[in-house]
């Protein structure tokens, strides 16, 4: 079940350092939202604060509101573990568990949370998730081999399979294609387009064409200078951002006249 996310007045800190300031945005369900912007402007930081992964860094904290379908994710009685079960995440670098087989990696969300499942149900889940991640055909006869034995692109799709196996409502992807070749990138882009029927997807990317190809909404982050907090400069439908942006900074960045 895809869900909508409303962020209001979000300030994100690393200790005393204010990394991202004053983000207000609504992320639509069943669509892909792309976040672009120069390096160090806080895209990853913002993404990680949506599923409360930000606070696992010592000293990191957040002020403001993130609401998912009426549920305040930063309310005092909200358990971050529950939030992360609802909002999955794919990281920039593929990170399959090295001690686990391909099969166990996909089932990891269930296994690690000690959910009891019959063998048949697990088999079915693993196959469905791997098919969902476009990886089934490549690995179906070596499911018991270690996940770290796959190629980088396959590992990334394995991580996507692992993330969608727990049936989250929202899927966050931090530069999922930055280490991949164009063919794997295309496979993952196709996959995202399929997945958006079921999930709300937020993707960080440095690739303008990718943002233009896959996303419906685009947010542009920027910062005024080193040591300054990053801000969400503009948030608009993707066609508008890439054809006729409201802000001069957005236009400069997209057309490569940045800095």
């Amino acid at each position: 079940m895809a869900k909508r996310i409303d962020v209001s007045d979000l300030d994100i800190y690393y200790g005393k350092f204010l990394a991202v300031q004053g983000v207000n945005v609504s992320i639509e369900p069943r669509s892909i939202t792309a976040l672009i912007g120069p390096s160090g402007c806080g895209k990853s930081t913002f993404l990680r604060s949506i599923n409360r992964m930000h606070e696992v860094i010592p000293g990191a904290r957040v002020e403001g509101k993130v609401v998912m379908d009426g549920q305040d994710l930063y309310a005092p009685d909200t358990d971050p573990v529950t939030v992360r079960r609802q909002i999955g995440m794919v990281f920039q670098r593929p990170n399959p568990f090295p001690t686990m087989s391909i099969y166990d990696n996909v089932a990891a969300g269930m296994r690690l949370n000690a959910k009891k499942m019959s063998k048949a149900a697990t088999d079915e889940l693993v196959e469905r998730s791997l098919r969902g991640a476009n990886l089934w055909e490549e690995v179906k006869d070596r499911l018991d081999r270690p996940g770290s034995g796959l190629s980088g692109g396959q590992q990334q799709r394995l991580c996507i399979a692992r993330a969608i196996a727990v049936e989250p409502d929202v899927l966050l992807m931090d530069e999922p294609c930055s280490a991949l070749d164009p063919i794997s990138t295309l496979a993952i882009e196709d996959l995202m387009t399929e997945l958006k029927e079921r999930f709300t997807i937020v993707i960080v990317t440095h690739n303008m064409q990718q943002a233009a190809r896959v996303s419906q909404q685009t947010g542009f982050f920027n910062l005024n200078g080193v040591g300054q907090p990053g801000r969400l400069i503009e948030f608009n439908p993707t066609e508008k951002i890439f054809s006729n942006p409201d802000e001069k900074a957005t236009e400069d960045y997209i057309s490569g006249r940045f800095g």
């Binding site: 992360r84 079960r85 399959p96 568990f97 090295p98 990891a108 969300g109 690690l112 727990v166």
Partner: protein, 359 residues
Amino acid sequence: MSTSTAQGPATDVAPAPEQRPGGRLPRWAPWAAFVAALAVAYLVGLATSTNVVLLVIYTVVIGTAGLYVASRIVEGPRRAVDRLVTCLVSSAFGIAMVPLVSLAYEVIRRGVLRFDGEFFGASLVGVIGEGGGAYHAIMGTLIITLLTTLISVPIGLLTAIYLVEYGSGRLKRAITFFVDVMTGIPSIVAGLFAYALFVIFFGAGIRLGIMGAVALSVLMIPVVVRSAEEVLKLVPNELREAAYALGVPKWRTIVKVVLPTAIAGLGTGVTLAIARVIGETAPLLVTVGITNGTNLNPFEGRMATLPVYAFYQLTQPGVPPENAIDRAWTAALILIMLVMGLNVVARLISRFFAPKTSR
């Protein structure tokens, strides 16, 4: 960085190949140099008083000097220095090996004399002079080491997990500091500590196997903490984050992801920590004492252990002393074998449990 010049390669070559005669010494040159040096040293030895150690020293010095001079004439200064340093490093290595090899040789030579069935099967009850064995001491060492491991590994591992996964601020720094201090505690102090602790409850003169285990734990815990901490730090943060992002609670992430990933290193560290304490003598001397009979109950009375056994056989051999001294050497041999065995086990653990990256 493209140097778009025609003479690029020419300028890349090192400047001024200072008088480097193109020659190379043949491969057998070093051997020849040292054989010749041996001959010279032998002649010198004949002239003065002969002595094996002096002969070796003469050979090495003369051979190195000769090789250096020959190389400098034929190959130039750079290669000559290379050969000189090679000779120096090899000599240093040889010197470092001398005590190790002679120790192993001596222990084996004297230890095999009593390396027999009786030694492994019998205790010292009623033995005067010949025969007798160290069954009681071997069992004592195994039992006390096992108890030490059972005490130290949980405490050490949990401490390391706290330090790496949970700890922060002052408490973490304090624990790290005290672990460092504990690493440096002299082993006799650990023994005295355990003794003083048990005297409070049981009165002066108490000797128990468990006291020895407590004393050894004081020595082993910091080693386990240190090695486990290093290994846990090596587990990539990305794996923890991957687990958190799946909605796995922190403690489950540690149990199911971090520890399995680190298991090889943890096993190796624990095994080496055991090897570190298995040969401790002083703390066992004051806490466990020695006995001639077999006592397998660490909670009652004195026990024998291999290091203490060897100590008493050597220092109080009785008359005639030879039999007891032979037994001391065999006990030493068994100790060395235990330590070496543990090292092999450590290697096997790290080989078999290492995360599999298949092809």
